[in-house]
């Protein structure tokens, strides 16, 4: 019995070393086949001209824009998500919303930062909320969907600026109100078409409300925007 124990002791003593050694071959086996694929892919996309890379990404972004404007197919945005589109939209919206910065010294910085913070912070909160409510969509997929669905509001911002160039009276206010309300409803509807599928059916209202609030705040910022001439 003592001999058996003595035999066992070295075995147990070596366990602490064995754990690390076991990790390496397992991970080595798993990673090596992938690395050989990675070598080929990296070589092929690294050597292509920059124009090709940019155009390929732009085409992907444009395709997703089309999916947002006509939200009938709900898998393309989720399958290959990317954050270029949301970044482009966020930056263009923030730039357009700070147009009245010329005369007042302190406007440009806080306004741009404010829009940025609202959009990204709001998207993160909504994503966390939908995950906590039992959603099956991943973190970045949700960020991608929410960012792309800002497109109607960005279009509305463009229209508002053009309308404000013409006149600043009550007629223009009514036009702007109608445009912003329509685009806000469009944004909310488009994003719920993508997001609500990943939720249990009786909890859709719980996910839709924060999205509604988020786009409402952005729409409100667009509506109350008034450049100083």
């Amino acid at each position: 019995m003592a001999e058996v124990e003595e035999l066992n002791k070295p075995l147990f003593a070596g366990l602490s070393d064995v754990s690390i050694a076991e990790d390496i071959p397992v991970e080595g086996d798993i990673t090596v086949p992938l690395s050989s694929h990675g070598v080929d892919d990296e070589v092929s996309t690294l050597d292509e001209p920059v124009k090709d890379t940019i155009l390929r990404d732009l085409r992907a972004v444009g395709q997703k824009f089309v999916h947002v404007m006509y939200p009938k197919e709900s898998s393309a945005l989720l399958r290959d998500w990317d954050l270029w589109g949301p970044l482009l939209l966020c930056v263009s919206l923030a730039l357009m919303l700070q147009g009245s910065a010329a005369d007042n010294q302190n406007d440009s910085g806080p306004q741009f930062a404010e829009v940025f913070v609202i959009i990204w912070f709001g998207s993160i909160i909504i994503t966390l909320n939908s995950k906590l409510l039992g959603g099956t969509i991943s973190f970045f997929q949700s960020l991608c969907v929410l960012g792309y669905c800002i497109l109607p509001l960005t279009v509305a911002m463009l229209v508002c600026r053009l309308v404000l160039l013409g006149s600043a009276g009550s007629v223009s206010f009514i036009i702007r109100l109608v445009v912003v309300t329509a685009s806000f409803c469009w944004s909310t509807f488009a994003s719920t078409a993508f997001l609500a599928d990943s939720q249990p059916p009786n909890r859709k209202a719980l996910v839709v409300y924060p999205v509604f609030l988020f786009y409402f705040v952005i729409g409100w910022m667009i509506l109350t925007f008034s450049p100083s001439h």
């Binding site: 390496i24 080595g28 090596v32 690395s35 806080p110 906590l132 039992g134 719980l206 409402f216």
Partner: protein
């Protein structure tokens, strides 16, 4: 080729894998010839092709020279000093990466695991609606500890709604400038009130031996903000002074009474009850008063005096109104005042 050694061997790859041999040999040779430094030695995969090539060459060389090369072939089995250093560096880098990844994922799973909060968001829309309505209905039964729902979805949504309403109120009170500061102020005020007051009342409850947990206190106070949202939404659009006071007393009072009743039902003794409920009632009602006046003072100032450069002293955020903006705002407010007074 790798089976020629008698030591423990974990290789299964054709190119030899990360061999234990290399470590032993690397640690054995104390002198490393710096002249043979490889430019690409490090963690790049392009080395693989190079190594493969060199391995084949070594094999051919070993076959030609036979026994004489055997020892040399075994020592630098892989390939001479160049490949050896790169191999060693790669393995070290690999180990460091694995260790770091393990640590990071452990820390992440421990602290950033949102599944901790998942049970508190397990609600149905009907339940949320019922709790919203119940938050305005004071209880009659205070001898029996009342049940408080421990959920965080409703309170969080209410806090965000309050932030949105505050933002709207600040916009309509004419602050065209420095919106960045005001946005931060709105979020900071609402969340600070919710979290700070909950913590403070929880601490007082601990002192007074009341039976309430932190989650329940957060939930209770969060739902109590529903009355605030309603009052502010109405009074930021209808600038009628006495209307605000009536709503403050009625709606604010109802939600405060509800919270106070729940707390009384969970506390024993007259003095603790008085302390706890008095503090909560005071904080809750004063917060509503503060929210209304801090963000609407400037409208009242202009209504009363109709002057442009009158900045009230209570403003925490400096609002410099240039003459153009204040003139425009004067005109709109005057017309609103005329409309309101004519009704």
């Amino acid at each position: 080729m790798s089976a020629s050694e008698g030591t423990k061997n974990t290789n299964t790859e054709p190119w030899g894998g990360f061999d234990d041999n290399i470590i032993i040999q690397g640690s054995g040779s104390a002198v490393i010839d710096m002249e043979n430094m490889d430019d690409t030695s490090g963690s790049s995969f392009e080395d693989m092709g190079e190594m493969h090539q060199r391995m084949k060459e070594e094999e051919e060389v070993a076959e030609e020279d036979g026994g004489e090369e055997e020892d040399g072939g075994e020592d630098g089995e892989f390939l001479g000093m160049k490949g050896l250093k790169g191999q060693l560096g790669r393995q070290v880098a690999d180990e460091v990466w694995q260790a770091g990844k393990r640590q990071a994922s452990k820390a992440f799973n421990l602290y950033a695991n949102i599944d901790i909060l998942r049970p508190y968001f397990d609600v149905e829309p009907v339940q949320v609606r019922n709790r919203l309505i119940e938050s305005m209905v004071p209880l009659r039964m205070i001898n029996f500890p009342q049940k408080i729902a421990g959920e965080l979805y409703g309170p969080m949504m209410l806090v965000f709604t309050l932030v949105a309403i505050l933002l709207h109120g600040m916009k309509t009170s004419g602050t065209v400038i420095r919106e960045g500061t005001l946005m931060g102020t709105a979020i900071g005020t609402c969340f600070g009130y919710w979290l700070g007051t909950s913590s403070f009342i929880y601490f007082l409850a601990y002192l007074c031996s009341a039976q309430i947990t932190m989650l329940q206190m957060l939930s209770l106070l969060g739902y109590g903000l529903f009355g605030h949202c309603v009052v502010l939404f109405v009074t930021y659009n209808v600038h009628f002074h006495s209307l605000f006071y009536i709503l403050w007393l009625v709606i604010g009072g109802l939600s405060t009474l509800r919270m106070v009743a729940v707390l009384i039902s969970r506390t024993v003794g007259q003095t603790p009850r008085l302390l706890l409920c008095g503090t909560l009632a005071a904080l809750h009602m004063l917060f509503l008063l503060y929210l209304h006046f801090a963000y609407h003072r400037i409208v009242e100032g202009i209504l009363d005096t109709l002057e442009g450069a009158n900045v009230p002293p209570i403003q925490r955020v400096a609002r410099d109104l240039p003459n153009v903006a204040s003139a425009v705002m004067n005109a709109t407010v005057k017309s609103v005042a005329v409309l309101v007074h004519s009704q």
